[in-house]
Amino acid sequence: DDVQITTVVKLAGETWFTRMDEGVVQYGKETDGVTTNEIGPGKADAAQQVRLIEDLIAKNVDAIAVVPFDPPMLEGVLKRAMDRGIKVMTHEADNLKNTQVDMEAFDNAAFGAHFNDQLADCMGKTGTWTSFVGSLGSLTHVQWADASAANAAEKYPDMKLVSPKNESFNDANTAYNKTKELLKKYPNLKGIQGGSAVDPIGIGRALEEAGLVGKICVYGIGMPNDTSRYLKSGAVTGISLWDPKDAGFVMNKIAKMLIDGEEFTDGMDLGVPGYTNMKLKQGPGKGIILTGQAWIDVNKDNLDKYDF
């Protein structure tokens, strides 16, 4: 009967991952001989994700596609999965050893630098700025923050980074409170870079209330619909992201290829915009890393093009 591909995400039900689920389901529908589904822990906790995967291994599905809550935490369990002959592919985990293929929508360093470049343009390459992360524990957020810091240090000597990597704990309200506090501490703040997808919402509200719309530049990752009001009001200058739906689709496609034992080649086309020319490189472990160029910049002008 059908081969079973299960996608394991960081946190079930989050807007981001329900969007991803659409891609997962779609792939399952389009491809016969494949059933796909997406599951995730009920709490944002690596432990819960590990337990989910343990049970998947026991259940002996054919392939697992994982968006790790924190890649290193999955080394052990993913190794077991592979030992049991289950195909393993991952996403947002380019530092993971125990995976066969890790798919990145883009090069995270580049993405971080991209944030910083946008911020720089908006700030006129000068002034103090700060950055958020969902949690010091979430790898990609930290990668982006660090990359953009490095980028600034290299290209924009007049930009001054203050109190970097504030944790929002993926809570808009916390992002809001911390922004308020940052504004007190650094009255002449000119730019803020968001970390988690809800950060721009909190930051935007703080700026609106402080009457600083337009006076401070805000970039970050976010969901178009969730962030739209602040993009419109100008409280958030712009967001960048990759479409979780496409990512979900591509992840499952890769998983299927693993099952069928197909070759992965540099520059291959996975048939989804942004993933048409995948860069292939060796990962930290035995596996490979496939990187696309799938990021989109959203601002008040092109906002209506994206309905998710």
Binding site: A12, G13, N37, I39, G40, P41, G42, K43, A44, D45, A46, A47, Q48, V50, R51, L52, E54, D55, L56, I57, A58, K59, N60, D70, P71, P72, M73, L74, E75, G76, V77, K79, R80, K97, S135, L136, G137, L139, V142
Partner: protein, 327 residues
């Protein structure tokens, strides 16, 4: 009071049967049983820690378990490689690793114990504070990112290579549980702890060394947590400060599900182990059936309430007019 025991045994049996009926044979194949067995210890140990704290009474509770576990794992992961090379002497590495974990656990336990027994902090505040503090230390030590151990055979075997079909870590867990259970039931320490929990003033008049008892209880709890830390590290071959944040409540859930009395003076380790097992099987079953984890929580809560209802209609409670002490 052995109602709890019966109920939990029945529950375990029930879940098992249901699982096989719905999820099919694959649920009770040796692999899955072992996989579940490897998942029980970490939560089980934390729950036993909470139990010890609760038994000691006066609002006793230990919220710092998982924080201690993570700190123990992190300190070891950072320290041990400097002492022993995992590649040359994997066995030695494993043992030193365990040793360091225990030492950290002991240290954390002493801190908790001192705060509660000497400085007279309310347990819930003390352990809430220390759990943040310990977590904080972990963050500082690692800058917030996880630390990989890489594949270390003895550690991996400790979890995944069963002896006579039983994963070593599970065997160890059972051994510890039995040891603690016996201590509580038969050793002077245990008897005193129960009595302290049921009437602290009388305990003082009877000449117990309250401070030492509390010290021991909370230290023991943290040491158990550090064992959990070791098991976690071995199982997922890396350590991180925010691993198992959801465990705090689940550990308490397991304890109260086992009939441990939050107001102190009563609690059975056997029941704790059984309730840990029940929750594990339930959640594995749901995962087998692709039922969402949210619904699992729903079911856990419902189960707890049902359990209370069942043990409520205990003929003794129906006969005697006085109400049970409430927490």
């Amino acid at each position: 009071m052995d109602r709890q025991l019966n109920f939990l045994v029945a529950l375990n049996a029930l879940v098992l049967v249901a699982a096989v009926a719905i999820a099919g044979q694959s649920f009770i194949n040796i692999y899955n049983l072992q996989s579940m067995a490897t998942q029980i210890p970490e939560l089980g140990l934390l729950a036993i820690g909470v139990t010890l704290a609760m038994i000691s009474g006066n609002g006793g509770i230990d919220l710092s378990g998982i924080a201690v576990a993570n700190l123990a794992g992190i300190v070891s992961a950072l320290l041990v490689p400097m002492m022993v090379s995992p590649d040359e002497l994997p066995m030695a590495y494993a043992f030193v690793f365990a040793g360091v974990c225990l030492v950290v656990g002991l240290a954390c336990g002493l801190v908790n114990g001192l705060l509660i027994s000497r400085a007279g902090l309310t347990p819930i505040i003390a352990t809430l504070g220390t759990s943040l503090a310990f977590t904080g230390i972990s963050v500082v030590l690692t800058n917030g990112s996880g630390v990989r151990l890489g594949y270390i055979e003895p550690l991996d075997n400790f979890i995944h290579t069963p002896i006579l079909g039983v994963p070593i870590c599970f065997a160890v867990f059972l051994a510890i549980a039995i040891a603690i259970g016996a201590t509580l039931r038969f050793a002077p320490f245990g008897m005193r702890l129960y009595m302290l929990g049921s009437n602290a003033k009388a305990a003082r008049f009877a000449g117990f060394n309250q401070k030492r008892l509390l010290m021991t209880a909370y230290t023991l709890s943290s040491v158990l947590a550090s064992v959990a830390g070791f098991i976690i590290a071995a199982r997922i071959s890396s350590v991180k400060w925010d691993y198992g944040t959801s465990y705090v409540l689940i550990a308490i859930l397991i304890a109260v599900m086992a009939g441990v009395r939050p107001s102190g003076g009563y609690g059975k380790i056997t029941c704790v182990v059984l309730s840990a097992a029940a929750l594990q099987m339930l959640s594995s079953m749901f995962n087998f059936l692709n039922i969402s984890n949210f619904f699992r929580d729903f079911a856990w809560g419902l189960l707890l309430l049902i359990f209370l209802a069942v043990s409520r209609f205990d003929f003794r409670t129906l006969l005697s007019p006085q109400t049970k002490p409430g927490g």
